[in-house]
C-alpha cells in the first residue's frame, strides 16, 4: 500500500513555511524579540529579588540626553537612563501584554465560539448577542473604562482591559468553523461511536480548527502590544515601568530639540515587532490552509 512518510498537517505546514523566505525572516525577528523579552524578564526578576535599582531605572542627570555613542548605543533619555536597556524592558512589557491578554481572550473566544457553533439554538443566540454587544462598543473606550475600574494602577488594568474586549473576532471565526465542521461526516461518525458532545467539540473539532486560533494569536499579539502602547502613552496604562508608550511620551517632549534617538528606536522596535508578527501570521495562514496544497 502507498504509505508516504508520516506527513501530518503540521509538518506539511512547516515545509511550506520554510520555503517562504520573508516568513522565515519574520520568524527570526520574532525569535529575537522573544529572547530579548526573556532576557529582560530575567534582569527584572534579578533586580526585584535583590531589591536593588536596575540600571535602566538609575537616573544620572549628568548624562541626560546623550546622543548614541559607544557607551550608550541608543543614547540616553531626559533622566540619563540608557535607552537600549529601557527598550529591552519595553520588549518584556510588550510580551507580557501580548501573552497574558491572549491567555485571557483566546480561551474565552474559543470556548464561546465552540459552544455557539456546536449547540446552536438558544446557546448560539445568547453568545451571538453577547459578542455583538461587545463589538458594538468602541474598542479603546471600552478598554479604558475597564482599565480605570481596576484598582491596581498598572499592568493588571491593561491585561484585563485588552483581554476582556478582544475575544470577539476569534469567537466569530471559531463559531463559523465549528458550524462548518459539525456537519462533516467525521463528526457524525464520532457520534455514531457514542462519543460525547464535549469530547467531539474539543478533542475532534478543535484540533481541526487550531490553525485559526494560531493565526489569530499571531495577529492579535501585535495589536495588543499597540493598544498597550497607546494606553501607556495616554497615561492610563503602565506606570513606573519602561513601557514603549511611556518612552514615546517622554521622547516627544524633546523631539523638536533634535533628540531623535529615543523616539526613533522605540518606534522602530514597535514597527518591527508588529510587522514581523503580522507577516508571520499571514504566512502561517497560507501554510496551514490545506486547500493551497502544492
Amino acid at each position: 500500500m502507498a504509505l508516504e512518510k508520516g506527513q501530518s498537517l503540521w509538518s506539511d505546514a512547516w515545509r511550506r513555511l520554510k520555503k517562504n523566505r520573508l516568513a522565515m525572516l519574520c520568524l527570526g525577528l520574532v525569535v529575537l524579540f522573544t529572547l530579548l523579552a526573556v532576557y529582560g524578564e530575567m534582569v527584572y526578576l534579578y533586580h526585584h529579588a535583590k531589591d536593588i535599582t536596575p540600571s535602566y531605572q538609575m537616573t544620572n542627570l549628568d548624562a541626560a540626553y546623550e546622543a548614541p555613542s559607544i557607551r550608550h548605543w541608543m543614547g540616553t533619555d531626559g533622566l540619563g537612563r540608557d535607552v537600549m536597556a529601557r527598550l529591552v524592558q519595553g520588549v518584556r512589557i510588550a510580551y507580557k501584554v501580548g501573552i497574558i491578554t491572549s491567555l485571557i481572550a483566546i480561551p474565552i473566544g474559543v470556548l464561546l465560539g465552540c459552544l455557539a457553533g456546536f449547540f446552536g439554538g438558544k446557546v448560539d443566540d445568547f453568545i451571538v448577542w453577547l459578542y455583538s454587544t461587545f463589538a458594538s462598543m468602541p474598542g479603546l473606550l471600552f478598554i479604558l473604562a475597564i482599565a480605570m475600574v481596576v484598582p491596581d494602577n498598572g499592568l493588571l488594568g491593561v491585561y484585563l482591559g485588552i483581554g476582556l474586549t478582544t475575544w470577539v473576532g476569534l469567537c466569530r471565526l471559531v463559531r463559523g468553523e465549528v458550524l462548518k465542521h459539525k456537519e462533516q461526516t467525521y463528526v457524525q461518525a464520532a457520534k455514531a461511536l457514542g462519543i460525547g458532545s464535549g469530547r467531539i467539540m474539543f478533542r475532534h473539532i478543535l484540533p481541526n480548527i487550531m490553525h485559526v486560533v494560531i493565526v489569530t494569536f499571531t495577529l492579535r499579539f501585535p495589536a495588543a502590544v499597540g493598544t498597550e502602547v497607546i494606553m501607556s502613552y495616554l497615561g492610563i496604562g503602565v506606570q513606573g515601568e519602561p513601557s514603549w508608550g511611556l518612552m514615546i511620551d517622554s521622547a516627544r517632549m524633546r523631539l523638536w530639540q533634535g533628540m531623535w534617538w529615543e523616539m526613533t528606536f522605540v518606534t522602530l522596535a514597535l514597527f518591527l515587532l508588529v510587522l514581523a508578527f503580522n507577516l508571520l501570521g499571514d504566512a502561517l495562514r497560507d501554510a496551514l490552509d490545506p486547500r493551497l496544497n502544492d
Binding site: M1, A2, L3, E4, G6, Q7, S8, L9, G120, Q184, T185, Y186, Q188, A189, A190, K191, A192, L193, G194, I195, G196, H204, P207, N208
Partner: protein
C-alpha cells in the same frame, strides 16, 4: 430479560421533517426486523428514507427530525424512549455504524491508530489497547503499520476497512452499514462485501445493510426490504424478491443495475 428472537424490531417507525404544509414524511410507518446473526438489506433510491431510518435507530437523525411515532426495539427495549446518555453508551458498543464515504469519515488530523484506540477506550476498560488495535487491523486484513498512517495517506478501500475495524472495536451486536461501498470502485466493493460477509459469520454479527444497489444484495442478505418515498413497498427473502419482484418499483430498481450482457427478453 428474556432473549428475544430478533435483535432489532422496528415497528411503524415514522420520522418527519418540518410541519404544516411543509411536512415531509421521510420515514412513514416503516417496520422491519433483523434476526440474530442475520444480514438484511434495506434497498431504495436516494431520498427514499433508508438512511434516515438507519440513523433513527439510535436517534442520530439530524436535529430537525421529529420522531413522530413507532418503536425501535433493540433487544426488546425501545431506543426512542432512552435518554441521550443511555444511547451514547449503546452507540458503538452495541449498535455500530459504517458510513458511505470513508474518505471523510475519519478525523483528518489524527492517525488511524489514534482513532481506533479512541473507539476501543470509549466503551471498554482495562484492555491491552495496542494488542487490540493489532487484532482489529488483522481482522480487516490490514497490516499493523496502518495504525501510524493519517487518513489522507490511505485509499478509500483501506479506510473502509479501518472504519469496519473501528465499528467492531467494542464487539457490537448490530452493525448498520449505510451504503458501505457506494464511494468505492467495483473491485474494492467486492472485497469489502466479502469481508463483511466473513465477519458476520466469524463474530456472529447482525448486519443491516443499506443500499441502492440490488447487485450487492444478492450474496449478502437473507431478506430484503424495498423502500420508496419513506414507505416499505416490498419485503421478502432475497431470492424471492430478486426472482419474482411484485412491485413495479422493485423491478425498476433491478433494471437499473448495469449488466455486462443485457437480459435477452
Amino acid at each position: 430479560m428474556t432473549e428475544e428472537k430478533n435483535i432489532l424490531e422496528v415497528q411503524d417507525l415514522s420520522v418527519h421533517f418540518g410541519h404544516g404544509e411543509e411536512l415531509v414524511k421521510a420515514v412513514d410507518e416503516v417496520s422491519f426486523t433483523v434476526g440474530r446473526g442475520e444480514t438484511i438489506a434495506l434497498v431504495g433510491e436516494s431520498g427514499s428514507g433508508k438512511s434516515i431510518s438507519a440513523l433513527a435507530l439510535t436517534r442520530l437523525a439530524p436535529r430537525a427530525a421529529v420522531y413522530a411515532g413507532g418503536r425501535v426495539l433493540f433487544n426488546g427495549s425501545d431506543m426512542l424512549l432512552r435518554s441521550e446518555r443511555e444511547l451514547r453508551d449503546i452507540r458503538g458498543s452495541q449498535i455500530s455504524y459504517i458510513f458511505q464515504e470513508p474518505m471523510v469519515s475519519f478525523n483528518p488530523v489524527f492517525t488511524i491508530g489514534w482513532q481506533i484506540e479512541e473507539a476501543i477506550r470509549l466503551h471498554r476498560k482495562d484492555v491491552n489497547v495496542a494488542g487490540e488495535i493489532e487484532r482489529l487491523l488483522d481482522l480487516v486484513q490490514l497490516p499493523e503499520r496502518s495504525a501510524k498512517a493519517y487518513p489522507h495517506q490511505m485509499s478509500g478501500g483501506q479506510l473502509q476497512r479501518c472504519m469496519i475495524a473501528m465499528a467492531l472495536a467494542c464487539s457490537p451486536e448490530l452493525l448498520v452499514a449505510d451504503e458501505p461501498t457506494t464511494a468505492l470502485d467495483v473491485t474494492v466493493q467486492r472485497e469489502i462485501l466479502n469481508l463483511l460477509a466473513d465477519l458476520s459469520q466469524k463474530v456472529n454479527l447482525s448486519v443491516l445493510m443499506i443500499t441502492h444497489n440490488f447487485g450487492i444484495v444478492a450474496d449478502l442478505a437473507s431478506r430484503v426490504y424495498v423502500m420508496q418515498t419513506g414507505k416499505i413497498v416490498e419485503e421478502g427473502g432475497t431470492k424471492q424478491v430478486l426472482y419474482e419482484p411484485r412491485h413495479d418499483y422493485t423491478k425498476q430498481l433491478m433494471a437499473a443495475v448495469p449488466r455486462l450482457h443485457p437480459a435477452k427478453n
